[in-house]
Symmetry: C2
Subunit: 267 residues, 2 copies
Amino acid sequence: MELPSLKDRENFLEHALRFVDGTRQVIFERWKAGLHPELKGDKSLVTEADLEAELFIRDAVARHFPGHGVIGEEHPNTHPESEFQWVVDPIDGTQNFVHGVPTFGTILGVHFRGVPIVGVIDHPALDIRLWGAKEFGVWKNGERVTIVDSKSAGLDINEIVATSTRGMFERTSEGPLLDRFMKTHGATRIYYDVFGHTMAVCGNVGALVEFNVRIWDLAAAPLLVEEAGGKCLEVRRTEVPGKAPLISVIMGKPSVVDVLAPHFQKE
Amino acid sequence: MELPSLKDRENFLEHALRFVDGTRQVIFERWKAGLHPELKGDKSLVTEADLEAELFIRDAVARHFPGHGVIGEEHPNTHPESEFQWVVDPIDGTQNFVHGVPTFGTILGVHFRGVPIVGVIDHPALDIRLWGAKEFGVWKNGERVTIVDSKSAGLDINEIVATSTRGMFERTSEGPLLDRFMKTHGATRIYYDVFGHTMAVCGNVGALVEFNVRIWDLAAAPLLVEEAGGKCLEVRRTEVPGKAPLISVIMGKPSVVDVLAPHFQKE
């Protein structure tokens, strides 16, 4: 499949960065004004900031790329027939955002016929932004990001592994899978938002096991990890009637992903 | 017991803040120069930055408060007979520090006859600093910090709980205790360094369960949590021959600490 030209991808990336300048402003303004979180059907939280930041992206895409589709966490899909889809999680980690844990962030990607070609992750409170495009490399606040693979055979005791929460594993009744893994690697962290993606893209963690998440959660990180020289391996995809499928990936340093994969393969 | 005067406590605090300006500089310089981590006896990592940052504190205490004791993670205690002890973990989260995860930090406290009277937590890479003293309140980068208690009866599903890693529970063969707790609160995070302390002091997490750590890990956070209006409850203390005892605490919003306590009491 021929991808859009590098010039086109750079154009999408430039727009994505401008769009995320906008969501950062929306998020800060709403934060300052005071949040009124509400419970969604799945008992997760949503705020005015989530809803408005996603609408900001939707308006921006409609104005600059009319006809392109948008897939987002908080509003219905538009133009599902388009080969270009902007995929957005306006605030990944709303529970953290509401409580002032600064690790939350905005995830935005452009997918062409299902292939991610542009990705941006923005942490407003940490002032960290990652961006990249297919065959363009990855940048963190303006500096090139490269993942250096682990040289260790097996999982080095001081390699950092992060995973989703146990609650995410429980979505497919696989909590015991996490329990078993934590017994083998006792220093496992659980960050529970896009902070883990950023750590994986930058090679700070050996690998992140992101379990039972949805397409908007993975709009950017898999592309960014691969563009930085890492590996993203899908280990599970579960169809959910009437909803987006649950996707599980391991991403990070190639050799660490390979060492972890057998632990998380479907039995 | 009569504590040193507020004026004296403020004087210790001012010095502690100056000392931590120094450790921040040592840590950045060593980071830029490139780290050469080594494995300690317990297989945890230590770097030149840990060792030098602690020596910096030791020299500063010896110069400004000759006769005061210093208890630190990386070097032998001095002046154990003094009623004033400066307690320091120069880099809490060395594994994170070595890998570039920015949540690591310096912990410094002044204890008078075993009672914490001054506490500082410094995150060089996040540019976050917390400080406080007994009956003086807590400050984060210059703004007063106050913990607002949860109004929920029981543990609200969207209250954030963070714990130590399973490996810390395993130090006293209590890994299954964490497994059981994670089944009851599936969104539990595991941060694995002083970042969790900072989140507890600022009321960002409902509570942090810090399990089987040592006195230098707890040099500052319990005082800061209480001074911010929170609660710190010791749930376990295990003597270890020839070493500092292992201490377990729950700290954060008072009602959340109380709700969690029965899960982590000794059986």
